[in-house]
Subunit: 238 residues, 2 copies
DNA sequence: AAGTGGTCTAGACCACGTG
DNA sequence: ACGTGGTCTAGACCACTTG
């Protein structure tokens, strides 16, 4: 190994080692920035660089006025996905309060890439649903679902008491979409994501683009989800 | 929207907007830090905070002595995965130079979590293979594969001219493992990851833990891969 | 030599919570 | 009031490339 030449990275590595050692356990407070400055004979700025690495790597969270605390890794909630299921249906029977909230929706023309996948002309219509999902009332993911409008006539009638899109599709349209593929990426949150998910730190998110087809065969749904993977396990079943 | 109160984030947002505008196209150089300092009437440090956000979000890459350049997003290479395939087999027939390199291997006792999944006692043995994968000679992923030793007797004999684990399994043992589930996370690279993948920046990685069983039914393989998702598309087929 | 990004020092001031 | 983290200023010095 040939790295870790800068001071702030050495400090970060040292602290990570101590956390792994057990010198600091989950929930413990790290020494204050001033104490670390004294300990390493350096200044605010360098110490903060080290700590921001710990934050980015998910080891600690900081709270203004309080300190930096070793994150408890809550043996992440499973958040399952497979060819035949949406999000909500997977957590049934688990002792986790799962909730999907419809933030907004609109009927609109498809974007070019949506039209391409959904096999639509640009003048046709799609429904665009923005859903925020919570586990134990903690915001966990943001998703955008785009479906062909003529597959779900009168959809707005069923959005009033929204619980789950797959529930609506199943109960009112007898449609159970079939996921064909997903594309996975790791991304940093935009400011809007940070805001909506109440991300206190600089956590990378899992972005999953999913494509699903109608049981009768034609393309049906295009979905983009951004998920906090530090707080939940995103499980894919084959 | 209610965010973006700090100066460096405003600068970052401004630059991102300009990139989206087309003011700066892929490959273009951004104004130098000094120029940005002048433009925004601020100093080195704040400008660098803004730029590090652009780096983290994957918009730009910086080169010492040269400048900051808008990243060309190379319409990422597809890197496919499904129940029945490993990595290598998916890229056949594509005009991409894909290569897997066996970095090291060892025969050892399983770790507790490995023993649990692989249904082994702690005194039994596993093979541990560390593989680095390249696309067009650019390092793309690091993976650790752990398999039960008694399923693959004399495995070391076949490691000399390593090309693909699934090829060895198929040709010498007539085994085609079946992936049962994967767990996806977004993580920041460790220093070692940064080093091995030659990551010039602070890019989040996709971490995928996969579990596969032997065709006869018993657990067979446990794999952890860390993948650059800024340079490739990780596609999951259902 | 001059310009670029990269690291570090030193200090001011603010926002937040009570060690 | 004091200590905590958060932001910003100002400047030094280094490493790298040739704008």
């Amino acid at each position: 190994m040939s790295m870790s030449d800068t001071f702030h990275l050495k400090i970060a590595e040292f602290l990570i080692t101590q956390i792994n050692n057990g010198t600091y356990a989950c929930g413990d407070r790290l020494p204050s920035e001033n104490e670390l400055c004294a300990q390493f004979q350096t200044n605010h700025h360098v110490v903060r660089l080290a700590i921001s690495r710990l934050i980015n790597m998910g080891w600690v969270a900081t709270y203004q006025g309080k300190g930096s605390f070793v994150k408890s890794r809550p043996e992440a909630f499973p958040y399952s996905l497979s060819a035949k299921t949406g999000f909500s249906s997977n957590l049934k029977g688990r002792p986790l309060a799962h909730r999907g909230q419809l933030m907004q929706w609109e009927k609109r023309h498809p974007m070019p890439h949506e039209a391409r996948y959904l096999d639509l002309e640009m003048h046709e219509y799609v429904y665009d649903l923005r859903i925020k999902r919570f586990i134990n009332e903690q915001p966990m993911s943001l998703s955008t679902t785009v479906i062909r409008a003529h597959d779900v006539p009168d959809l707005p009638d069923f959005l009033a008491d929204f619980q789950s899109l797959y529930k609506i599709l199943s109960e009112h349209y007898q449609i159970r979409p079939i996921r064909t593929k997903s594309i996975v990426q790791a991304i940093m949150p935009t400011l809007k994501d940070t805001d909506l998910l109440h991300l206190p730190e600089n956590v990378p998110l899992v972005k999953i683009e999913s494509f699903a087809r109608h049981p009768s065969g034609h393309p049906f749904e295009y979905n983009v989800s951004k998920i906090r993977s530090d707080m939940c396990r995103y499980v894919i079943d084959f």
